[in-house]
Symmetry: none
DNA sequence: CCACCAAGCGATGAAATGCTCAATCGCTTC
DNA sequence: GAAGCGATTGAGCATTTCATCGCTTGGTGG
């Protein structure tokens, strides 16, 4: 044999210490004894092994991939928070997938002892969220709606979220008794000047935390499906660059609200870009990718709950 | 266990906690706050993540001493490949130590784009290996078992490796539906002449790469522990010079398969000596030294994954 | 040859972790 | 409906780990 032993090498010790610590599960002074060094030195070796990247930890679970995506999204887009739920596979409703994750985000705020104002938009995703969340304990918070609850035909709008939440929480809640979209500017003005409306409006505008769905444009747009926008107006909006919609306010591919007579008729609060309070976008699905991307770019939302395929697609946007 | 329903999260929480702890480097009460649970619960989740094997640790550094041993073993015994993992210290299961190294060898082949046939034996070491490997990307390979999967009591054998691998890879796999050891030569003949069995047999025999464990003889022999061989037969075999066993085929101290009625009843493929395709022996531990040494001498295996103490002991054999 | 500087070392105290135990909760059974 | 049983929980405590500090050592330049 050439050499009976290679020198007690520099970084080898660190690797060995890290191995004994993480794989063998030894305690640091066991390692110290094993290697014949002091405890402190063993501790330094272990920490060196980590900082030098000698030790790689991975999570052998689907959730692991999701959490990697969360970190990537947070970092890439500067989001305050991000949750990625495992995908349900093709064919399933993506809203189901993200409902639980969204609910747990909501619960984080509901658990707070100090009274908060929590504002909600509407939509399938939020509706799925409220089906999933579990009220626990008393609720000192105010539940506020971001948008009107009067549909064009006078019915309560589909996917009304807020009353469901408030009902299950037993909390005071503030719906917004205005048309989702008024017929005329005068009508909108009239409603928006009513004192109770102004009150709710102010509450919602200053909410401590906001949850919204994200709507895409096109024939399958929620706005179109629910009859708020005719096919002609939709086409017109898209010509103007409309890419998505949050609380019925339409924005372009860079997340800037577009300057359209249509937007001027929307009742309720427009979520302003660049807020410091958390604004959660709760949305997933292939058709929504561009709309979500734009909303993030424009800083309309600063927190995101989505599913795995959507997260991957967002990261793949250039 | 596949879970089509993602709604309630049983072990997902453990995964999440483990990720936050090991990957994000959070402290346990930060995790507790994050997940909205008590500090103790967070600690329990993290420890569950470890005990469930959700956390995978890899050493990204070849320790010099181990590399020296690898080279020495390769040179001395003319091995195609050799990997030596650092020892875990006395008392620990050596299979754990070599699992990661073995997994990374396996992954080298799985990454190959062209379809390969990969054959597997059974045993604790291989089982530990499959727990550690990480499937990545699609798998065009064929996963074949070297030996039968029918135990004497009719149950699926302990330490079944192949189904686990295939399950995680989503690859087509070929178990061998014959008894590990038949009661009579006639029974063996019957099984081995079945067409599907012949098919699997031929696949395994010509595998592009093979992974096997190495069993020792004696009271602590895997064959004895799993009830394939009674104490009397074991004693008899040892009198005939039996030193080790690969895929249930028993060989002597020089690695030559012994000519025993017992060997004639083994179902499945006998790994032939002197193959040009790689045959990996994955084994470590003081009790296995002679068996490994013999298998190498007889050229039954031509690649080795073992741990440091075992490697040293092998080199110390005369 | 000495003074100085940098790097590494061990020690101490504070924080974090993991373990045990008693109490509770939920479920089954009588 | 009550009692029993097992699993789960939270609290306290012992252990382990981590960060900061002053000291020693070894090397360098004057």
């Amino acid at each position: 044999m050439t050499r009976p032993e290679t020198d007690p090498t520099p970084q080898d010790d660190a690797a060995r210490a890290g191995w004994l610590y993480y794989v063998a599960g030894m305690t640091q002074d066991q390692i110290a004894t094993e290697l014949g060094v002091s405890r402190q030195r063993a501790q330094r070796l272990v920490s060196k092994a980590i900082s030098d990247g000698l030790i790689q930890v991975r999570l052998n679970h689907r959730i692991g991939a999701c959490m990697d995506l969360e970190q990537a999204l947070q970092h890439r887009f500067g989001l305050q928070r991000c949750r990625v739920a495992p995908g349900l596979g093709a064919g399933a409703d993506p809203a189901r997938a993200i409902a639980v994750a969204a609910a747990s985000e909501l619960e984080r705020y509901l658990r707070q002892p100090d009274p908060l104002t929590i504002a909600f938009g509407t939509g399938r995703a939020l509706r799925a969220m409220v089906e999933q969340f579990n009220p626990s304990g008393p609720c000192p918070h105010k539940i506020v709606s971001l948008l009107g609850n009067i549909a064009p035909d006078g019915s309560a709008t589909l996917y009304d979220v807020i009353s469901r939440i408030a009902e299950r929480l037993n909390a005071t809640y503030y719906p917004m008794p205005v048309p989702v979209i008024s017929d005329t500017a005068q009508e909108r003005e009239f409603f928006m000047h009513l004192r109770p409306v102004r009150n709710v409006y102010e509450l919602a505008r200053k909410a401590d935390v906001t949850f919204v769905g994200v709507g895409q444009m096109g024939a399958d747009a929620p706005l179109a499906l629910d009859g708020f926008v005719s096919a002609e107006v939709m086409a017109e909006l898209q010509e103007q660059g409309a890419t998505g919609e949050i609380a019925s306010w339409v924005y372009d591919a860079r997340g800037r609200y577009i300057d359209s007579p249509r937007n001027a008729l929307v009742g309720g609060v427009r979520v302003e870009p660049g807020q410091s309070q958390p604004v959660f976008g709760v949305a997933a699905g292939a058709s929504k990718i561009k709309a979500i991307y734009a909303a993030i770019q424009g800083r309309i939302i600063n927190c995101l709950v989505t599913d795995e395929p959507t997260a991957k697609a967002l990261l793949a946007q250039d």
